[in-house]
C-alpha cells in the first residue's frame, strides 16, 4: 500500500486541522474588526508578470509549470504581497486607503528538512495608499491584537528601518556587490567582519562605531533615542521614523511588545522602510513578518505606498495545539428498525444549532458509545423500544443519564 506524501509537504491530523481552522477564524475576525476586506487570489500566476518584481530568492525557489495551451511559464503563488500589488495595479478604480486581508497557501522550494517545507499557509493584511508612519503602526497593532485574541502573550516584535542600511550604502558610496557583502555581515551578525569592513573607509569615529555596533543595537527605545545626535543627516530620518512609530504604539498601549533591532536586515528585497518580525519567545519561532514596500506596486503600474504583514499559520498551530477542542454535541444510535425517528431528532437538533452525527454502522451499542465519546461528542442519544414504545436515552460525557419520550425531545 502506498500512502506516502512528498517530503516537502505536511499532512495535518484532524486535531491540527481543527486548530488551524480555529486560529484562522479568530485572526480573520480580528482583521474584520479593523475594517479589512477579504480578497481571494488565484493559486497560479504568470511567471513573466512577477519576474521583475518578486524577491530574487522567492523567484528562484518558485514552483513552475508550463501552460499546455499558451506555452507560458506559470508559478504557484510563492508570496501574497506581490500578488496583491499586481491586483492593486490592475484596479481601474483606486480609492485609498485600501485595507485587504488574505489567507491561503504559499509554495516555495527548499531543501525539505524540519520546518523547511514546500507548502506553508499564511494569513495577513496589506494597507495600501498611506505613506505615513500611522499605517506602519496600524499593521503592527493589527498583528498584536490578533495574537492577543488567540490568547498568546509570550511574543516579541522586533522592529527595524531598512532605510538605515540604504543610508549607509549611500554614505559609504557602496556598489551593489560590496553592499551585498556588507549586508551578509549584517545578516549573520559578523561583528569581526564589520570591524574589518569599516577600517577600509575614512569615516567619523561615531559613524564607524555605529556601523560596528549595529548587530548589538537591540533593545528598548533608549537604545535609539541617544543615537540621533551622533549620526549624519541620511541616518537621522530613519531613526526619527522609529521613534515616531514607538510613540504611536505607546499611545495605543501596545509598545510593551516592541524591541528595536537595528541589525535585522529585511527578509525580502521589496521592503523599503519599517520592517518587523514577530517571535514566539518560548517556542523560538518567527511566527510573523511584515514591512513597508513603497516601490513594489509602481513596478506593475502606478505609484502607491503600502505596508503589511503575514502570520505563518503552521507555526501558530504548533504553538496552540491542544488549546482548542472540537466539541460536537450529539451522536445518535438508533437500535430500532425504523430509522425515521433518528432522522427527525437529528434534524430538530441541527435546526437549533447543535452538531449531530448518526451511527450508521451495525455494532454493539456500548462500542458505539465508546467511539462517540472518543471522537469528541458531548452526548450520546440512544433510541430503543421498550414495551412497544420508543424511548430515548441521553448519556452525557460526564456520566449523566436522562430518559425522555420521543415527543419531549422533538418538542
Amino acid at each position: 500500500m502506498k500512502v506516502d506524501t512528498p517530503k516537502g509537504v505536511r499532512q495535518l491530523s484532524f486535531e491540527e486541522s481543527y486548530t488551524l481552522d480555529t486560529i484562522q477564524k479568530i485572526i480573520e475576525d480580528n482583521f474584520k474588526l479593523w475594517g479589512y476586506d477579504k480578497l481571494y487570489l488565484p493559486l497560479i500566476e504568470y511567471y513573466h508578470t512577477h519576474s521583475k518584481t518578486l524577491d530574487k530568492n522567492l523567484l528562484k525557489n518558485s514552483f513552475r509549470i508550463v501552460d499546455r495551451y499558451e506555452g507560458e511559464t506559470l508559478i504557484l503563488r510563492p508570496d501574497f504581497t506581490t500578488q496583491i500589488a499586481r491586483f492593486v495595479a490592475s484596479l481601474k478604480d483606486k480609492t485609498f486607503p485600501l485595507r485587504v486581508y488574505y489567507c491561503g497557501d504559499i509554495f516555495r522550494y527548499t531543501v525539505p528538512k524540519a520546518d523547511n517545507i514546500y507548502q506553508r499557509r499564511q494569513v495577513g493584511v496589506e494597507l495600501i495608499g498611506v505613506p505615513q508612519i500611522e499605517a506602519d503602526a496600524e499593521v503592527i497593532a493589527v498583528a498584536v491584537t490578533s495574537l492577543k485574541s488567540l490568547g498568546i502573550s509570550d511574543f516579541q516584535i522586533d522592529i527595524n528601518n531598512v532605510k538605515i542600511h540604504y543610508g549607509i550604502k549611500e554614505i559609504l558610496n557602496l556598489d551593489d556587490g560590496t553592499f551585498a557583502e556588507f549586508m551578509g555581515f549584517i545578516k549573520n551578525r559578523e561583528i569581526y567582519n564589520l570591524k574589518k569592513f569599516v577600517s577600509k573607509f575614512i569615516l567619523p569615529e561615531d559613524l564607524k562605531e555605529f556601523i560596528v555596533s549595529l548587530p548589538k543595537l537591540k533593545g528598548g527605545i533608549e537604545i535609539i533615542s541617544n543615537l540621533k545626535d551622533k549620526l549624519p543627516t541620511g541616518l537621522k530620518e530613519p531613526i526619527d521614523e522609529l521613534v515616531k512609530i514607538y510613540s504611536i504604539l505607546k499611545e495605543y498601549g501596545l509598545s510593551d511588545y516592541l524591541v528595536f533591532d537595528l541589525g535585522e536586515p529585511k527578509e525580502f528585497e521589496y521592503y523599503t522602510g519599517i520592517v518587523f518580525e514577530v517571535f514566539s519567545v518560548k517556542n523560538k519561532k518567527v511566527i510573523g513578518t511584515g514591512g513597508r514596500y513603497d516601490n513594489l506596486i509602481s513596478k506593475y503600474n502606478g505609484d502607491y505606498p503600502a505596508t503589511g504583514f503575514a502570520f505563518d499559520l503552521y507555526y501558530l498551530m504548533d504553538i496552540l495545539i491542544g488549546k482548542f477542542h472540537n466539541k460536537k454535541d450529539y451522536y445518535i444510535i438508533d437500535t430500532t428498525d425504523d430509522k425515521l425517528t433518528a432522522y427527525r431528532i437529528a434534524s430538530n437538533l441541527r435546526s437549533k444549532g447543535f452538531s449531530v452525527a448518526r451511527d450508521i454502522v451495525k455494532r454493539d451499542v456500548e462500542k458505539s458509545m465508546d467511539i462517540a465519546f472518543k471522537k469528541g461528542f458531548e452526548n450520546v442519544i440512544i433510541i430503543t423500544v421498550e414495551n412497544n414504545k420508543k424511548r430515548v436515552y441521553i448519556f452525557s460525557k460526564n456520566g449523566e443519564k436522562k430518559v425522555l419520550e420521543i415527543k419531549d425531545i422533538l418538542g
Binding site: A114, Q156, R189, E190, I191, Y192, P215, K218, D261, K284
Partner: protein, 211 residues
Amino acid sequence: MEKISFALPKGRLFGQTIDILRNAGILKETVSQDTRKLIIESENFRFFVVRSKDVPVYVESGIADFGVAGDDVLDEGNYDVYRPVDLGIGYCRIVVAGKPESRELYENLSNSVKVATKYPKIAGNFFSKKGIKPIVYELYGSVELAPLVGLAPFIVDIVETGTTLKENGLVVIDTIKESTAKLIVNRVSYKTKSQDIFLLINTVESFLGGL
C-alpha cells in the same frame, strides 16, 4: 535564571572553548569531556557534546543558545544562525589538493573538473564561480585515497598541518579559504535573551581583544 545552553564539538575545540570561557571569567569550574556524558551541567551552563557538523543543527533549532563551529561546517550547510565572534581557534585551511603532477592540469582547467570531497557544497561553489563545471564525488572519509586510485584528480578538504597529505604523496594546489571557529548564536535566543547573550559575547570579545 534560565540556563544558557551550549552545543560544543567533541575533540580539541571542546577544550579550547572551555579554556576561553574560563580565562574570560565566564566559567569558574573546569569542564572536561573525559566521560561518555552527552550533557554536562556546570554553573549556569548546560553543554551538549555533539559532532562538529551537528553543532549548527542544535543552534539553528534553538535547542542550544550558543555553539562553536568552523567556517568549513558553516559554509557547507545553509544555517540561519548568527556568528558574532571569531574565536580564532580551530585554525585550518580549506584547500584543493592532488598529486604534484596534477598542478599543470589544475592550471589549465577549462570545462569541467572531477573532485572528491566531504564538502560538496564548498567544492561545488568554488569551481562554479571559476566557470568550471564541478563533478563532485561526495565521500565521508579518507578523501586522500581518491587521487591515488583515480576516482578524481583533486580533492577539497581541510588541512591543519598537512601531514596526512604528505604521507600520501599529495600537495596543496590551491587555497579556497582559511577557516577558524566562530561563536554562533540562535537567532531567537539572541533576540529574546539579549541580556545574557550580549554579556557573554561582550566578555568573550573583550577577552580575545586583549590577548
